[in-house]
Amino acid sequence: MAENVAPESGSEAAESARFGWVDRSLLGLCLGSLAVTVAAGLVQVSFGSYSMSVAQAWRSVVDPAVLLDYRWVLNFLLGEGLMRTVTGFQGELPELATPTLIVWTIRLPRVFVAGLVGANLAVSGAIFQAVTRNELASPFVLGVSSGAGLLILLTLVVFPMLAAALPIIAALGGMAAFVLVYVIAWKGGTSPVRLVLAGVIVGTVFQSLQTGLFFFADSIGVVQSAIAWTTGSLTGVDWEQVRTALPWSVVAVGLSLVGARQLNVLLLGERTASSLGMNVERMRFALSAVGVLAAAASIAVAGIVGFVGLIVPHVVRNVVGSDYRRLVVGCVFAGPALLVAADVGARLAIPVLTGGSGQLPVGIVTGLVGGPYFLYLMRKQEQLGEI
């Protein structure tokens, strides 16, 4: 159980209030998660088709030729075109050693994307768990995954010429499904139960349509690509994906931190929130929109990765308690830890276990981890469900 900060009273309370909510359990969780993320990230950069020693790989990660050269850093974060506009630099970028180039352009971006996706999904799940007041809610509870999945299949099977825009189409599909869920649930207002039911309705229909579309796929390649998208995969991600996800992630995480107190009040139930003067409908929609934005950002770069948004807020809540300020911060650290670690499994499982080559979609690994975790919870906790 969370150890809470000492009673604040008098004038020193004002001083400590700003960061008084950061307690030992939260700090421990963040540092632990960070350690897992870094460790898993280092494993990720150490293996690949280009053979280099582990020491060589780790040295490349901290290669000053990249870290201390703002042009390289901006080149990765903003893209070459924008970097040249911002810096006014027109010449050739200084050459990098081959290991550094491999690590920085191929292996590291995958770790960063995994981190962003993990943070987004975890925060999004935390938001939806408050909005629906159900700790079994996930980022996809309001139809986001089925909407995204349907449009992914439609694009790949029916409109292959739009494949380049797939990330955006998938994210838009998720948002459209969310709006549809809201429209269905609305009857002079919504309620958590109505929203979840509407999510099930939209999810069921879209899922069927999506499965139906598989029959129209004309090659096994299209099917595999569709499966990779709908189970979530980080194969072949690049700095491009970092650049796609980063701004939205910053916005979504920022907004959820700002909205943490509103989420806390929502946890007291609609009636109390409303008698405290909250416009519950408006707030619930706005917070859901932030959750959908975070989910959409992750769908755009990695497809539909399941379970992360369900498990991570749950684990974090068990450690730091239900205060959303702590919970959101905890999720920002723990989400990446889970996803980066799971991606190690996704990338190395086949070579290590069978000696073959190939990668699993990371969503398969998170599902394999997530199922047993819930079995454990079910056995351990009497009540599972309400926050």
Partner: protein
């Protein structure tokens, strides 16, 4: 603090079986003498925020016909008004409508002259606090944090807690008598302690009008008395206008300056506890035979037996 201090100087004769279309003027006339009767309790007790419902028709989408049908109610400013009535008489529904939590089909609720339906939600929450019947909070929230949520309507979207907020929270915790619990997790408290904490949260809102929906139901005797003590303190030391739904008529008789008895969504009787809590009313509205003995803590009720429909007329004294 005893009942006799605050008994209105001019006792009202309750017109039982009040009609639904009773004019609002009659209501204000009824309430008017209440102002000033509390003068003995404190210098500022004559103040208070007028709070009234006029011709309120309230129903639920699922119910046939309105639950409250065209009722008017004037809460005595700065005093405690108790709503009593049997199960299903519409007292909680009326309270919810008065707190703007249910949109009435007709009629209006006014606080200090302005209609609550037109007020901004936060503005209203700064003037009117409502304690609902059942409340839920995460188990791991501390008492202090929960009470701090009572400051929600006073804080902007980005504002932290100000010195004033902290002072209000401390006052509320103090008044509700939960100082010793302030760092406990809400999940570790008993039902009675939780109720006191919820009352503290509503008190932290520091509103002029306070509506309490059955605050003593399901509590053990100790915590029932704790809750009643809080309300008595409010009556004696603040000029809050309090409307409280009570299941227990005895508590209403002891606690309230005025009592309003409802039956089937209509007001059957209103006035001072002595005038409302009578053997006739208990028979007509609550369907019980009871002895009522006036005491200096309000009328003392001894329930004897339930009256059945045919027994209502041949009761004896």
């Amino acid at each position: 603090m005893s009942q006799s201090d605050t008994t209105p100087t001019e006792p009202h004769h309750p017109d039982e079986h009040t009609d639904c279309d009773e004019s609002p003027d009659a209501q204000s006339a009824l309430a008017a003498p209440a102002i000033g009767t509390d003068a003995a309790a404190g210098a500022d007790a004559a103040e208070g925020t007028p709070f009234e419902a006029e011709d309120l028709v309230v129903g639920y989408p699922t119910s046939n016909g309105p639950v409250v049908d065209g009722e008017s109610l004037v809460a005595a400013p700065g005093e405690v008004t108790a709503l009593v009535g049997p199960n299903g008489s519409g007292k909680s529904t009326l309270l919810k409508a008065m707190a703007d939590q249910l949109a009435p089909e007709a009629g209006a609720v006014r606080i200090d002259g302005s209609e609550v339906a037109d007020m901004d939600a936060k503005d209203l929450a700064r003037r009117l606090g409502l304690l609902s019947q059942e409340n839920v909070a995460p188990d791991s929230i501390t008492v202090r944090k929960l009470v701090e949520h009572g400051r929600y309507p006073h804080r902007g979207f980005f504002d932290g807690l100000t010195e004033e907020d902290r002072a209000a929270v401390d006052r509320a915790i103090d008044l509700a008598g939960v100082d010793h619990l302030r760092d406990r997790d809400v999940g570790s408290l008993s039902g009675g302690q939780k109720q006191l904490v919820w009352i503290a949260m509503v008190l932290a809102q520091e509103t002029d009008v306070l509506l309490l929906d059955e605050p003593t139901t399901f509590l053990d005797m100790h915590h029932q008395l704790e809750v009643m003590e809080i309300i008595e303190t409010l009556r004696a030391e603040s000029d809050k206008t309090v409307v409280v739904v009570l299941h227990d008529l005895q508590q209403a008789a002891r606690l309230a300056d005025r009592v309003v008895a409802l039956q089937d969504g209509a007001v059957r009787s209103r006035g001072s506890p002595e005038a409302v809590v009578t053997e006739d009313l208990l028979a007509d509205v609550f369907g019980i035979e009871a002895d009522v003995v006036p005491t200096d803590r309000g009328p003392q009720i001894t329930p004897l037996r339930p009256l059945h429909d045919d027994g209502g007329t041949d009761r004896h004294d």
